[in-house]
């Protein structure tokens, strides 16, 4: 085996974090470098007011991306915090009206963990399993709704498989039943068109670094945010309508805003590219025997592909593939050596999960990179199968 060259990676882990766009980077550097650009946006002086002007511009850029009211966006540290505020904050606000909440078993930990926490506080949680394609069965959702149900939370694009839920239908069901609908759109906002003037979504979590923006910043869309129908998780300032106190990180917000504007202008081209790369990759992979696509192909965001290679340990495969950067399971959960719950819910056993690897493209991914990756994948899979005592 040849040891990898650390300085020459091929990055196919866009679902974990996208590379920062050069235009976004420039906007951040301008914020940090220029001597009159560091004001605290909450300060009343000239530098603070200028900074707040930039924050407002970014809020406008993000609101345009999802066609939301500019006043309904709250800056957070990322989608995980957005999910926590949305789920815990709204459940607590409405707990006198009911303590039943609904979610899916295939959610990211940033959603499932807040629900686990609420359960420990005495809330009742219904966790719906997907069908064999990974999709939510709408009749199951309707059956699960009770008189005391307050919130439904379902992610849009699954971070491990790319499976895309029909959030328009879920939102309609929730609206008919006067239940709040929260959607974790960390993997979809900026990649798939979301029009919140038409989609009856009450709460939407957005991430910056999944759309070529900086890490450490995200947003929560909260319909009619000024009515404050959420109990904050933190206290200490009046920023973000008292819902998320703390000094606004100007350079990150500015970068996120620029990333949102770029995502809006490139969305169609980006989606076409993802579709092309996905088809190209899957076509090349056919040359390797016994490779299986995990989850539905028809309801899949094309930028994410999850493959399993029976007879191969995925962790060793990851190391053999270096300098190709791919992933096993969710990046937020990949070091605990526990099999992915998302893949388990699709009916895979522990061995099948262990042999699965996620490939996720970026706007910079090229066909020649895919050729190289497939070549390495084929070599590594054949080698690991060859040295396995039981795979013949």
């Amino acid at each position: 085996m040849k040891k990898f060259r650390e300085d020459d990676p091929i990055y196919l882990d866009g679902a974990a974090s996208m590379p920062i766009d050069p235009i976004v980077l420039e906007s951040i550097i301008t914020c940090l470098e220029k001597k009159n650009n560091f004001g605290n946006p909450s300060s009343m002086n000239i530098m603070g007011r200028r900074a707040m002007g930039r924050v407002d511009l970014a809020r406008g850029q993000l609101s345009n991306l999802i066609n939301a009211d500019i006043d309904d966006l709250i800056w957070t540290s990322g989608a995980t915090e957005s999910n926590n505020i949305a789920i815990i904050g709204s459940a607590r606000y409405r707990e006198n009206s009911g303590r039943h909440l609904i979610t899916m078993t295939t959610e990211h930990k940033a959603v499932s963990a807040p629900f686990d926490y609420l359960e420990s506080e005495g809330f009742e949680i219904t966790r719906l399993s997907p069908d064999q394609n990974g999709l939510l069965d709408m009749s199951k959702l309707k059956q699960a709704i009770r008189n005391d149900t307050q919130l439904v939370s379902v992610m849009h694009v699954n971070n491990e498989t790319g499976i895309t839920q029909n959030i328009a239908e879920i939102a309609d069901i929730c609206q008919e039943n006067q239940i709040l609908f929260h959607c974790d759109a960390a993997q979809s906002a900026g990649k798939i068109k979301l029009d919140l003037k038409y989609l009856p979504i009450d709460l939407l979590s957005i991430s910056s670094h999944k759309i070529y923006g900086p890490q450490g910043i995200g947003a929560l869309y909260l319909k009619n945010a000024s009515k404050n129908k959420i109990i904050p998780l933190m206290y200490g300032g009046e920023q973000e309508k008292w819902l998320r106190p703390g000094t606004l990180p100007l350079h990150q917000i500015v970068g996120f805003g620029v990333a949102a504007e770029l995502a809006a202008s490139r969305m169609d081209d980006d989606f076409k590219l993802m579709k092309h790369l996905s088809n190209y990759f899957l076509d090349k992979i056919k040359a390797i025997p016994n490779i299986v696509l995990n989850g539905s192909n028809s309801a899949r965001y094309p930028g994410i592909i999850n493959l399993r290679a029976p007879g191969v340990n995925g962790e060793s495969l990851l190391l053999m593939l270096e300098p190709v950067c791919v992933a096993q399971g969710s990046a937020c959960n990949s070091k605990n050596n526990q099999p992915s719950l998302v893949l388990k819910e699709l009916g895979l056993n522990d061995h099948e999960i262990q042999s699965s690897v996620r490939f996720s493209f970026t706007r910079n991914t090229t066909e020649s990179e895919i050729n190289e990756v497939v070549k390495k994948y084929m070599k590594a899979v054949n080698y690991l199968r060859d040295i396995s005592p039981d795979y013949h």
Binding site: N313, S316, N337, D350, L384, I387, S388, P389, Y391
Partner: protein, 129 residues
């Protein structure tokens, strides 16, 4: 002011990386002729499997090879094991301190089953010597 230097941190230490990529003693399915004794053990919980194949001369292991299904820690451990058991007799195998690998490879505690597999394999070989 002296700035702290960035310390390189990786999930796998350099010993794991070196052994994993070296794979000198790894045997594929087509090259198992002339084998004297072998022992295969597995861990049901993780699905890991290790097969050790040894040639015996004068009641000692003259050469060893392995086949493996498992994580990089197990693959690195198998590589180390083959190198270590060569030239050893049954009594010398009994003195092997396989547990030392935990420290040498910085194997996480939750993957201690790797050591148990190795110990079982060595025991299996030793009993056949």
């Amino acid at each position: 002011m002296k700035l702290l230097k960035n310390k390189q941190h990786d999930l796998y230490n350099t010993n794991v990386m070196d052994l994993f990529y070296r794979s000198r003693y790894c045997e594929n399915n087509n090259k198992l002729n002339g084998v004297s004794i072998e022992c295969k053990k597995s861990d049901v919980a993780t699905g890991s499997i290790l097969k050790l194949i040894c040639k015996i001369e004068n009641n000692k292991i003259s050469s060893a090879r392995y086949q493996v299904y498992g994580c990089p820690y197990l693959m690195a451990s198998a590589e180390w094991l083959c190198e270590t058991v060569q030239g050893k007799s049954a009594s010398q195998l009994k003195k092997l301190k396989i547990m030392d690998l935990m420290k040498m490879l910085s194997i996480p505690t939750e993957r201690k089953s790797i050591i148990l597999i190795l110990e079982d394999v060595v025991d299996g070989i030793r009993l056949q010597l």
